[in-house]
């Protein structure tokens, strides 16, 4: 089953890191070599993919209009869902990227006897999608403390805000919980809803398990095992300053955590996770609905494709047209002289 396959792969990866780091040379491999490699892969192939998209032509202007267009002056345009200016497009894109506007529209359809179709509002996917992305972002930004020295003020602020409930020692970050809850929801949703389960691939479960693994190991390290943060920072800060050093006190679970992140980075550019870049380039969203106002140019427009000509049309139907009293460009040849005229014609053009 696909979900078990994905789980199996992630567990195997964890085992590989745990065992591998204990082997001779393993600490350097999993602590330094692979992370560098993965980061390089991530950067290079992410950019390559986006470049590949960006340089492919956009032959037609095809926004999906999500409301009333710019039309007559007294008809109220929906400027955000059907923008006709660059500013409007920027607004639409901001709403899309930061607030998942389209997902917010989501409904759920049901069929009842009758038949009767009903569409209920369904905001859970939107809610957990938002929660997941923003908690992930916060957690990632908080991790900057491991890569910077001095630690930037905003990271401190983020940590303070995130732990404002002041529960436990070390202080519990709410985003840790939210992150785990949201990923779990997204996973359960995939498993429970029959249609979503049916469309899911191993490649859909895999990143979720990867994230769960990363979250679990991270939480374990922080709240349960209380790993030695100072030596971890020595490694992580060393990595960004190209002076990595792995202290003895860095243990197996850290390598598991790091390796899963390594895998995530390396996997990212080749997977659906690239939606992170693609959303900015989607032609149905990032184009203004001004197709009739401003001519859009298609770089590969083929000028050799011409309509069936009027002259050809008239030639086909001239007699009928004349008979029906339709105007013609070229009159019918006078009946008797017709054959003679054929030879010596430079006919009217």
């Amino acid at each position: 089953m696909k979900v078990l396959q994905a789980l199996g792969i992630v567990l195997a990866l964890m085992l590989v890191a745990y065992v591998g780091a204990a082997l001779p040379g393993g600490r350097t491999l999993f602590g330094v070599v692979l992370p560098y490699l993965a980061f390089a892969i991530f950067i290079i192939f992410f950019i390559a993919k986006v470049m590949d998209w960006a340089k492919s032509p956009v032959p037609f202007r095809i926004p999906t209009t999500g409301g009333q267009a710019n039309s007559l002056p007294w008809i109220k345009q929906n400027k955000l869902d059907c923008p006709s200016t660059t500013l409007g497009v920027i607004g639409r894109m901001l709403l899309e990227v930061f607030l998942f506007r389209s997902l917010f529209r989501n409904t759920q359809a049901e069929v009842h006897e009758g038949p009767k179709l009903a569409y209920g509002s369904s905001k859970f996917l939107w809610l957990f999608g938002i929660l997941f992305h923003y908690s992930f972002l916060t957690v990632a930004l908080r991790h900057l403390r491991l890569f910077t020295d001095p630690i930037p003020a905003f990271v401190h602020a983020l940590e303070f805000g995130d732990g404002f409930m002041q529960v436990g020692a070390p202080v519990l970050y709410q985003t840790d919980l939210v992150f785990m809850a949201a990923v779990t929801f997204l996973l359960l949703r995939r498993l429970v809803l029959p249609n979503i389960r049916y469309i899911s691939l191993v490649a859909d479960y895999f990143p979720l398990f990867l994230l769960l693994g990363i979250g679990t190991t991270g939480i374990l390290m922080r709240y349960v095992l209380r790993v030695d943060v100072v030596s971890i920072k020595m490694l992580t800060h060393g990595l960004v300053t190209f002076n990595p050093f792995i202290a003895e006190s860095v243990t197996g679970i850290f390598f598991v955590h790091l390796f899963l992140i390594t895998v995530l980075l390396a996997y990212f550019p080749f997977s659906k996770l690239m939606h992170a870049g693609g959303v900015f380039l989607s032609p149905t969203r990032n184009m203004a609905n001004n197709s009739r106002m401003v001519r859009h140019i298609n770089p590969w427009n083929d000028p050799s494709i011409k309509p069936h000509s009027y002259a050809g049309y008239e030639d086909d139907f001239r007699e009928f047209m004349v008979e029906a009293g339709l105007p013609v460009d070229k009159e019918l040849p006078p009946k008797e002289e017709a054959p003679a005229a054929e030879g010596d014609a430079p006919a009217e053009s």
Partner: protein
């Protein structure tokens, strides 16, 4: 009419095991073959249609090898190298369309689009979920063009191109009406309509296409309209309608004319409006309106089809058929172009025409000769929608209207997919309806405006051999109409689309008997008080007006 009885169909939709009724298919979709049987596929294109179109598009093989073939057979007489043609076809389009590339790469299978498609809602067939429809092609894309797909195969959702896959494509890319409803809900704007367009282009390359699309397309090319009406017939048909107008109003309209050089405006309609009920009443509405305001217009028999059947095949044929409009506007020396009520016609006019066949620098920025309004939103394409034009006339009080002449109608309005989601023409028709009718009720909000449901038979699917499918695909629309029919007694479904006027008619007859279908301009024609007309006791279709039933 559909083969299946209404009761049976109603039961089937609500109760038969399907993904809509909660049944979970046992087999993975990749292991579920597409099986053709009578009623679930459109008839293949006839050999001479393919020959004709190929020849007219420069013999580039865009429609594949002309031949006779049988959809139900396991030998489609494909060329030896058909797989290579398909893979190359995908590659070429990836290189030409950013949309295609992005849409192939970015889907996360969140399923937000899954239950947004009318075909899924009506059939419960999982492969009619837009996401799976796209995966049918995406799986091949992964296999041929992505590293993950090449290395991980099925784990990454990749699979090889086989004849089985080809059959799936022919089945499900002809159960998509390119309505774009899915795209509205997708967080990345993935437009399965666009994917369907690509898939159909690619299918045509190996000679897999339907006759109901290629024959009208051939007709449009030769005669100017999809019905294949020759110029004199086209003119005659239109003139019959002048007789009908005379009978209703007592007025003989002298203004109808054809192919006239020097007219101010070229008027292009979907040709069904001169030929088929109830489009003809819409046409009568146009003519009354033009006469009422004294518009200096002409209709061309050469460019007598606004609807573009090419757009259901490939962008080359779309361009070729569309090219007539500008060519004719130039030949006749008009100032600008006015377009009638048609959905996919307007998708092409709004989003493609100027790019493909412009610049229309021989035309002027459209300006209403009656109100002086300059249609800035059409400044480059120079083509205005009849609803925009009419709404402007109404706003400026240029029409003499007797609203009560539509009192025998209780109306609702169907937003056609293309004007709604490919253009944003949403409030103009409503303004008109509000001005010419007293009884108007909207359908539920999840089923109108940008969220509107397709008639279920667009993009060349309105052919008789798949009637059951069409009735299922149209169910969400019909259901919403039924809601207002039961609640407010709605008896007339208005729209601004010629395909709708044909397909909704069948849909209403099946699901909601008692609800008729009309174009918005018919309502205008009914309500217009013409100079010197007799007292009207019937509407344009000779139906008695309210209070005149006796």
């Amino acid at each position: 009419m559909a083969n299946t009885k209404l009761e049976q169909m109603s039961d089937s939709v609500a109760k038969d095991p399907s993904m809509m009724t909660g049944a979970i298919p046992k087999k993975d979709w990749m292991d579920t073959p597409a099986i053709f049987k009578p009623g679930n596929y459109c008839y293949p294109a006839k050999q001479d249609m393919v020959e004709y179109l190929d020849k007219n598009l420069g013999s580039k093989g865009l429609f594949g090898e002309p031949r006779q073939w049988d959809v139900e057979s396991d030998d489609w007489k494909l060329p030896e190298n058909w797989k290579d043609i398909i893979i190359q076809g995908i590659k070429d389009r990836l290189d030409k369309f950013r949309s295609f590339k992005i849409f192939m790469d970015c889907c996360v299978r969140c399923g937000a689009c899954a239950d947004k498609c009318h075909f899924f809602l009506g059939t419960g067939d999982p492969k009619n979920m837009p996401v799976l429809r796209a995966e049918l092609l995406r799986s091949i894309y992964r296999n041929e063009f992505t590293k993950a797909g090449k290395i991980l195969g099925r784990l990454a959702g990749a699979r090889e191109m086989t004849f089985g896959v080809l059959k799936e494509w022919f089945m499900y890319f002809y159960q998509c009406t390119e309505c774009r409803r899915c795209s509205l809900f997708c967080p990345y704007g993935i437009d399965t309509a666009e994917i369907t367009m690509m898939a159909r282009e690619i299918l045509h390359l190996v000679g897999v296409g339907t006759n109901w699309i290629l024959e009208p397309a051939s007709n449009s090319n030769r005669t100017g309209n999809h019905l294949g009406l020759q110029p004199h017939t086209f003119k005659e048909n239109a003139e019959y309608l002048i007789d009908d107008i005379e009978e209703v109003t007592g007025l003989r309209l002298e203004s109808l004319n054809f192919n006239r050089k020097g007219a101010e405006v070229l008027f292009v309609i979907p040709s069904a409006d001169v030929f088929a009920e109830p489009g003809i009443y819409t046409f009568m509405g146009y003519l009354l309106l033009f006469d009422h305001i004294g518009l200096d217009y002409t209709i061309s028999t050469y460019a007598s089809e606004g609807g573009n059947f090419g757009s259901f095949t490939n962008n080359e044929l779309m361009k070729k058929l569309n090219g007539k409009m500008y060519a004719e506007a130039k030949r006749l020396g008009v100032k600008w172009i006015l377009g009638g009520e048609c959905g996919h016609m307007w998708r092409v006019l709004h989003q493609y025409m100027d790019t493909m066949n412009g610049p229309a620098d021989f035309l002027e920025v459209p300006k209403s000769p009656i109100t002086g309004t300059v249609f800035e939103n059409a400044a480059s394409t120079k083509m205005v929608h009849i609803s925009e034009f009419t709404a402007d006339l109404i706003k400026h009080g240029k029409l003499k209207i007797d609203k009560s002449r539509n009192d025998h109608r209780v109306l609702t309005f169907h937003d056609s997919c293309n004007p709604a989601r490919g253009m944003g023409l949403i409030d103009e028709p409503r303004e008109i309806i509000e001005a010419v009718c007293n009884n108007f009720h909207e359908m539920p909000e999840n089923t109108i405006r940008e969220q509107t449901f397709c008639c279920g038979s667009g993009t060349g699917l309105n052919t008789g051999e798949i009637m059951d499918l069409r009735m299922r695909g149209g169910l969400p629309r019909a259901n919403a109409v039924k809601h207002v029919h039961d609640k407010h007694g709605v008896n007339m479904l208005s729209c601004v689309c010629a395909i709708d006027r044909a397909t909704l008619l069948a849909l209403m007859e099946y699901w909601n008997p008692g609800v008729e279908v009309c174009g918005v301009s018919e309502l205008v024609g009914n309500a217009l008080i013409m100079d010197g007309e007799k007292e009207r006791d019937s509407g344009l279709r000779f139906e008695p007006l309210a209070g005149m039933e006796g």
